[in-house]
Amino acid sequence: MLLKSMLNGATAMAWLACALFFLRFWKQSRDRLFGFFSLTFVLLAGNAVAAALLDLDDERRHYIYVVRLFAFLLILYAIWDKNRAGRHGTG
């Protein structure tokens, strides 16, 4: 159990670091895509923390995956948004 919590913690830290990188890109370029990416990785970090804190048999466990699903949908929306902006810019 200790190993699992530690791995979850390490994963959360890695996601947070990724989120900070994308936050920096967003501040530099003001490109919304980076903002969405940053938000997604914050969600994934929260996800890993929640996974570390909840018991394996906790019946609320699958709600963690609803958050994860939302994070992925956010990325899909971000890519769609970016493509639309690109088409709008060139056409």
Partner: protein, 86 residues
């Protein structure tokens, strides 16, 4: 309900990976390559999630494999961000 969420997680992760890798092929932007690889890893992790919790009996536990797949995805992206971001 839970099964549907697991399947949707896997499908959306695959979709993210495909879209990011296609964008990488078009633009050759290294950041898109690392993001695409990260989401490919997350897709593997989410497929394993479905296999572990829905298909396999409870006596077999893939938790450690799943979390290692997720952590590897995060580390791949972090590696790309540290070395290629400028």
């Amino acid at each position: 309900m839970a099964e549907a969420v697991y399947i949707l997680c896997a499908l959306t992760a695959v979709a993210c990976a495909v879209l990011l890798l296609r964008a990488w092929k078009r633009t050759q932007s290294r950041l898109l390559l690392w993001s695409g690889l990260c989401f490919a890893g997350l897709a593997v992790s989410n497929v394993l999630l479905f296999v572990d919790l829905v298909l396999l009996p409870t006596s077999i536990d893939l938790y450690l494999v799943r979390i290692l797949a997720t952590m590897s995805s995060a580390i791949i992206l972090l590696y790309g961000l540290v070395w290629d971001a400028s």
